[in-house]
Symmetry: C2
Subunit: 204 residues, 2 copies
DNA sequence: TGTGAAATCAAACGATCGTTTGAGCATACG
DNA sequence: CGTATGCTCAAACGATCGTTTGATTTCACA
């Protein structure tokens, strides 16, 4: 029972990388277990099925992402002088942090794939585990943008979500130049995303 | 040779719908040919392979989409008083038209999937055949936004692309209310997307 | 040290995948 | 009319898929 935790982690990490690279259907359990260095039957033994493995891959990262986002939001939700940029920062910075530490750099790609998939069960799983976070952020956005109707607000949050998911899935990510540190580059990226999203959200 | 054109079209239409619904790997040729009402072997006979079919699905829609976009861009590229909103309109409106007529409503979902896939051969195909369109629009955007550095411009165009692809893939599409016509609703949607994108692009 | 549960392993299961085959059908042309 | 050509069809190909099985190994604990 000691090495089982190790095996499960190895499978989750290999699965995350392969799902990001080849998709949920494109990555086979044989490729996956070979990359993880474990036996083929280990997936079904530890996770029950491939579908369950997919959900566990999401759970591992989303749990900490949600926790960090809500913690960041709590810091500013009470303050009357909080700005739209602050709320966006609470949403964006935890995702960028996740991309650069904890080996979760590939997770945003997996998330982008999940958005592109219109598979109902996966959508429902994401909505169940993720919905309350978006609801809290929506409330804060509504407070910052009182001139927007509810319909307009939903529209723009959806557009922001699309832009950020697209960008953070590593598509157009601009490479860090060798003369800037990793932390600096991350902060520049965050500033870039926030500036764009804030301008789009507060359009007249 | 008469019915072949009919069969090819039936396959392309069924493939577009199934690719949008289940993805390129998730949609099998057996589901696909059954939905099209043709024999299983018809795909390999008419298209050579499944990969070729995928490319043909893109070709059919992207050829007309690019033609319309470039035609719209040509109308304003010479005019000195053209606005950023005009350029965005030339980019967005043809895509919305495609979504609502010609049965291409599902194509934007297919395109969103292609963006999520990091498959190199598919990316190369899209870049080779349709990169020149993005290059022309980028030139116009640069003309409208002279205060942006080249790096910032690329960043923001990428973010706009993500937002529009996400929105037009039918994710958060707000349903048309029964008391507005289809044309009116389309124009409202276009205005919404353009307003958001213009504000994001011209952020300070 | 002996024992039983947990974990790993090679092997095989049936199902489904993309593709190929060769016979049969249709139709246009000499 | 005969024939060549383009097309459709059922059937089968080998490969690979997710999953299951039963034996074997590992290891904490009595």
């Amino acid at each position: 029972m000691n090495s089982s935790a190790n095996t499960k982690e190895r499978i989750l990490t290999a699965a995350e990388a392969l799902f990001a690279q080849r998709g949920f259907e494109g990555a086979s359990l044989r490729q996956l277990t070979a990359a993880a260095g474990v036996n083929l039957a280990a997936v079904n033994y530890h996770f029950g099925s491939k579908d369950n493995l997919v959900e566990e891959v999401f759970k591992r990262r989303l749990d900490q992402l949600n926790a960090r986002r809500l913690a960041a939001l709590r810091l500013i939700s009470g303050q009357p002088d909080a700005t739209l940029e602050d709320v966006l920062g609470a949403f964006i910075r935890p995702a960028l942090d996740l991309s650069h530490d904890g080996g979760g750099g590939l997770f945003m790609r997996v998330l982008a794939r999940a958005f592109a998939e219109h598979d109902d069960s996966l959508r429902k799983f994401l909505s169940d585990n993720y919905g309350h976070v978006m609801r809290q952020f929506t409330t804060e956005f509504a407070r910052m943008l009182p001139h927007l109707s509810k319909e307009e607000l939903y529209w723009r949050i959806d557009l922001v979500t699309g832009a950020l998911t697209h960008a953070m899935s590593g598509f157009g990510i601009i490479q860090r130049k060798s003369d800037v540190s990793e932390v600096t580059h991350r902060e520049q990226t965050a500033a870039h995303l926030i500036r764009f999203a804030a301008a789009g959200l507060s359009a007249p």
